[in-house]
C-alpha cells in the first residue's frame, strides 16, 4: 500500500472493499423500507414468534446465496447447490454418529462436490451444464443415502442447531457470520482480487499471470461448502433428512444473488448485498403467508420482484446492472475458448 492509499483510509477496511458496497446501497434501502412498512402495517408480523420463524427461514438461504454470489462473480453459475443441500440433510439424518463426525462429513462432502464442479469448469465445461450434471449426481447420491424423507438427526447436533437466543436463532447468527467471512475473503484477500479479475475478463486475468484455475477451483469449492452448511441450517427447520428438500434453493439462491446486484456477467458486486436481498425475499414469503393468500402467489411475487429489480438497476444506469449485457453471461468464456 502506498502512502497515498493509506492516508485516504478512514477505516481498517480497504477502499475497494467499501467501494464495492455502493451497489448494495439501493437494495439495502429497499429492504429496510419494506421491513418498516411491514412492521407498521401488519400486526402479526411484529410478533416475536414470527420474527423468529423469519430468521430461521433466512439462515439457509443466506449461506447458499453467499456461495452462489461467489460463483456468479466468476461469471459462472452453480445449479447443484440445491441437491448439495439435500445431500447434507440426508447425511446428517442417516449417519447415526456424533455431531462432530456429521459436521466433518458434511463439510468434506461439500468441499469435494464443489471441487468437482470447479475441476469440470476449469477443464472447459460450461458451468451451467457442469453443475446441471452434478446436480443430478448429488441428487442420486442423496437418494442412495436415504430413499425417503426421514431419518434421525443426532441429538447432540440438533440441540445446537435449534438453539435460540431470545428470538434470534443460532443458525441465523452463524449464517450472518458465514456471509461476512465470504465477503471479507472476496474483498480483502489476494484470492478475492483474482476472483473479480477472473470474473471481469478471464483472458486478461490469464495474460496477467493470475492463478485463474486455482481461483475458480476455490470459488466452486466454497459454493459447495456453503451449500452443505446451508443444508445443516435447513435441518434446524425440518428436524430430519429429505433427499428433495433443497431443490428450490438452486433458483432461490440465484435470484437472491442477482437481486443483491451481483452482475451475471461476473466481476462486479458485493457478497454482503446478499443479506438485504435474502431479507427481501423472505419478507415477501412471510407477508404473503401472514396475509393468508394462496401460497402460489409467492411465485408470481418472486418473478415480479426479480424483473422489477433488474429494471431498477437498469434505470439507475449502474454498470453493475445486470442489464449491460443483452446475452448470456457464459458467452464470454465460451467465446474465448
Amino acid at each position: 500500500m502506498s502512502a497515498l492509499a493509506t492516508s485516504r483510509r478512514s477505516s481498517p477496511l480497504g477502499t475497494t472493499t467499501l467501494a464495492g458496497l455502493k451497489p448494495a446501497l439501493f437494495i439495502t434501502l429497499v429492504s429496510i423500507v419494506a421491513v418498516v412498512i411491514a412492521a407498521i402495517v401488519s400486526e402479526p408480523f411484529r410478533s416475536p414468534t414470527n420474527v423468529e420463524s423469519l430468521l430461521f427461514q433466512m439462515a439457509p438461504l443466506l449461506l447458499v446465496a453467499a456461495g452462489q454470489a461467489i460463483v456468479i462473480t466468476t461469471a459462472g453459475i452453480d445449479l447443484s447447490v440445491g441437491s448439495m443441500m439435500s445431500l447434507a440433510t440426508v447425511l446428517a439424518a442417516a449417519s447415526s454418529s456424533s455431531a462432530g463426525a456429521v459436521v466433518a462429513i458434511v463439510v468434506a462432502v461439500g468441499l469435494l462436490g464443489g471441487l468437482g464442479n470447479g475441476i469440470g469448469v476449469v477443464s472447459g465445461v460450461n458451468p451451467l451444464v457442469m453443475t446441471l450434471g452434478t446436480m443430478a449426481i448429488f441428487r442420486g447420491v442423496a437418494l442412495l443415502v436415504l430413499g425417503q424423507p426421514g431419518g434421525v438427526v443426532p441429538a447432540d447436533l440438533l440441540t445446537p442447531l435449534t438453539t435460540v437466543f431470545g428470538h434470534v436463532p443460532l443458525t441465523f447468527l452463524l449464517a450472518l457470520g458465514g456471509v461476512a467471512i465470504l465477503w471479507l475473503a472476496s474483498a480483502e484477500t489476494r484470492w478475492g482480487r483474482a476472483l473479480f479479475a477472473v470474473g471481469g475478463d478471464e483472458a486478461h486475468a490469464r495474460r496477467a499471470r493470475l492463478p485463474v484455475r486455482r481461483t475458480l477451483l476455490i470459488a466452486y469449492s466454497l459454493s459447495g461448502l456453503f451449500a452443505a452448511l446451508a443444508g445443516l441450517a435447513l435441518v434446524a427447520r425440518i428436524y430430519s433428512g429429505d433427499p428433495n428438500v433443497g431443490d428450490p434453493f438452486a433458483l432461490d439462491s440465484i435470484t437472491a444473488a442477482l437481486i443483491g446486484g451481483i452482475a451475471v456477467t461476473g466481476g462486479r458486486g458485493s457478497v454482503l448485498a446478499v443479506i438485504p436481498a435474502v431479507l427481501l425475499l423472505a419478507l415477501t414469503d412471510n407477508l404473503l403467508n401472514l396475509a393468508g393468500v394462496f401460497s402460489y402467489w409467492q411465485y408470481i411475487a418472486k418473478g415480479v420482484i426479480l424483473i422489477l429489480t433488474l429494471a431498477a438497476y437498469h434505470a439507475a444506469g449502474r454498470p453493475t446492472g445486470l442489464l449491460t449485457m443483452a446475452r448470456g453471461g457464459w458467452r464470454k468464456r465460451g467465446g474465448a475458448a
Partner: protein
Amino acid sequence: MSAVQAPPAASGSRGEQLRRRLLRSRELLVSYGLALALLIAFAVATPGGWEPQRILTILGQNAQLGIAAIGQTVVLLSGGLDLSIGPVMNLASVVSSAQMRGQDGNIAQGIAVAIAAGGLVGLVNGLLVSRAKIPPLLATLAVGTIVQGGYYVYTEGQPKGGVAPGLQSAADAKVLGSIVPWWLVLWIAVWIVVAFLLYRTTWGRRFYAAGASPRAAWLSGVAVSRYVVGAYVLSGICAAIAGIALTAYTGSPSVSGADSYTLQTVAAAVIGGVAFSGGIGRLAGAFAGVAVLVFLTTILETLNVDSAVQYVVQGAVLIGMMLVNRRLIGRGSGSAGR
C-alpha cells in the same frame, strides 16, 4: 448419418468435400454415435429389443421432449437460454384442457389457445431479453416463475376441464401399417418446419449470423433483436405443442407434469452438440440428444437400476459429452456445424 449429405460437386472434389463436411459435423457424429451405441445396448440388453415397433413406440412416447428440445435448440443458437419451457408446457396443458372440457368438438380451439399462450410467453421473454437487455437466464427464469404462479393460482392446484378423448386416442394411434406412432410423426413434422426455416430461408441465414456474432450481424444490417424475439416465440410455440402432446399422452392435465423438461431440453441440446455461445450446432443434434436421453433412461429402467443410480449415470453422461464436444469444437477450424 442422414444429416450429412454430400453436396453435388465436381467429381474430383466430391470425396474432399464430403470429408470436410464430415469433419465440420464432428459433434453431430459423436452424438449420433452415442445414440446408436445406446440403441445397440438397448437391443442387446432387453428381450425383443430389436423390434423396430418397440423402438419407434419409445421414441413416440418421448415426442414431447423432442419437440420442446427443438425450441430450446433454436434459442441456444440465438445465443440465449430458455428456462421457461417446463412452465409453458404446464400452461399449455392447463389452458388446453380448460378449453376442451373433454369435448372432441373443442380440440381445435384448445390447441389454438394453448399455442397462442405459448407464443405470448415467448414474446415476453424475447422482448425482455432483446429490448430490456435482461440476461436470458434471468428473464426466462422470472417469466417462467410468474407463469408457474399464474396457473397455480388459476387452477388452485386442480386443473379444470379435461383432455378430449379424440386427442387422447391420437396419442396412442399409429400410422404406416400401425408401426409409426402419430406423435413421432408430429415431432418430425415440427422438426421439418423449423429446419426449413433455419436452413432454407434467408431468415435462417440471418438468424445463424445473429446468433454467432450479434455485433457483426448488426453491422451488416441484420435487425438482431428481431431474430432474438423470433427464437423465443418459436420456443414458446414448440413448448406449447409439447405440452399438449404430453397432456394427450398422459390423459389428464397437470400443473407440474412438465417441471423436469426445462433442464432435460438443455441436456438434450448440449448432448446434441449445440454450444452455449450461440450460432454453433445444428437442429439435427437435438434429435440425437433426445434419443440418447430416452434410450439411456429406458435401458436403466429395463435393467431395474435404482432411480438414484439413474440420476448419477445421466449426470455423468451429460458432463462426459460436454467434455467431448468441447474438445471437438476447440480443435480444427472452429466453425463446427456452421
